[in-house]
């Protein structure tokens, strides 16, 4: 059986984007139903995919997800692309922050505050 790291490394970029979307949709359900521990476990998978795409220089592959129908996917995609596509990512965060859909609206608004005061620097 392949290890998690080698599995991610051998997956195509399209497959990683698909997996990223799937994880975010799963997180969305967890947040709706208050299954926070499960949501938090999925965070590590999001980080792994982001790191792998970053290493490949292919984070732009997540940009189509900025227009995804699901707000958790849009939120995570915006956070992951702030460095490579700051204008589009910030626009997605702005829209989310005015959506009245929580917690994504709150998280997007917090991210914008932190970007503005420099306490969050995308990497």
């Amino acid at each position: 059986m392949r290890s998690k790291a080698s599995r991610i490394e051998s997956d195509s970029t399209d497959a990683l984007v698909e997996e990223f979307e799937k994880i975010c949709l799963n997180q969305y359900e967890c947040l709706l139903d208050g299954k926070i521990a499960r949501h938090n476990r999925l965070v590590d998978k999001i980080i792994d995919i982001r790191e792998e795409l970053k290493a490949r220089g292919e984070r732009q592959a997540l940009l189509p997800l900025l227009n995804h129908r699901n707000r958790q996917v849009r939120y995570q995609a915006a956070m992951a692309t702030l460095l490579v596509a700051p204008a589009s990512a910030r626009e997605a965060l702005e829209k989310l922050s005015h959506s009245h859909e929580f917690p994504q609206a709150a998280n997007a608004s917090i991210a914008l505050d932190k970007l503005a005061d420099g306490s969050f620097v995308p990497s």
């Binding site: 208050g34 699901n70 859909e101 998280n107 932190k114």
Partner: protein, 261 residues
Amino acid sequence: MEAQIRNYEISLGRLSYHAASLHVLLAGRRIQRLLRKANFRPDEPRVPARNPDGGQWTIIGGGSYRLPSGARVMRIGDRPHLFRLRPGMLTEGDDLPSFEDYPDIPIVRPHHATDRHSIVRRIPMAPFVGKPAGTLPRKLEEIGAPAWLREYYPHIDANTQGPKSLSELRAGAQSSRPGYDIHHIVEKSSALEDGFPKSLVSGPDNLVSVPRFKHWKITGWYQTRDENFRWASPRELLRHNSWDERYEVGLYALRKFEVLK
């Protein structure tokens, strides 16, 4: 002696006849009770034939009511009867959640509160934020949403209210109101665990009235790992912080969840 035995036999026969009748009667009552529980009425309207859901029960349509565009009650396999929300049924406009985000609402009230809450929280409420109280419940009534949702109308209404001032939120915490919870600005459990006095944690300055659904979401947010907090949760980051720092974050969260002006 023989006559006595025959009499006993007759009595036993009668007894077994009565037992059988009683059995049938009880079974009938059980069925009646189940039908009542399922809100079954023999005169309940059904979706007309030649319709994809022809013959299925509907709580709308028939009589003087008209089936709203796209609204229908359907039974999918062996799942309970469902009321299916569709985009455009609650509001008109483009910026609406897609079909996948809409919940199927069982006609029969789910037994477990967690199931009911999971359904109610999926009803798109954002388009109704800031509208006069009662707007979304009225809309749900108009489209014939299942009756059990009525117990959640106060929660739905509270959730669509705009932000309020701190003094209004504190005043609200003086009494209990349907649809609202008492919320601790500084999280209660972790503050007590970290040795802050109960008089401070449960003092009037730390208590505000918050719509229940937002209360749950804020509580969840405190535990949620996010990049905004270096992939930790706000609760983890606030551990060992002063009361004032926690209070500031508590107010910040209330603003970000549009509870506090």
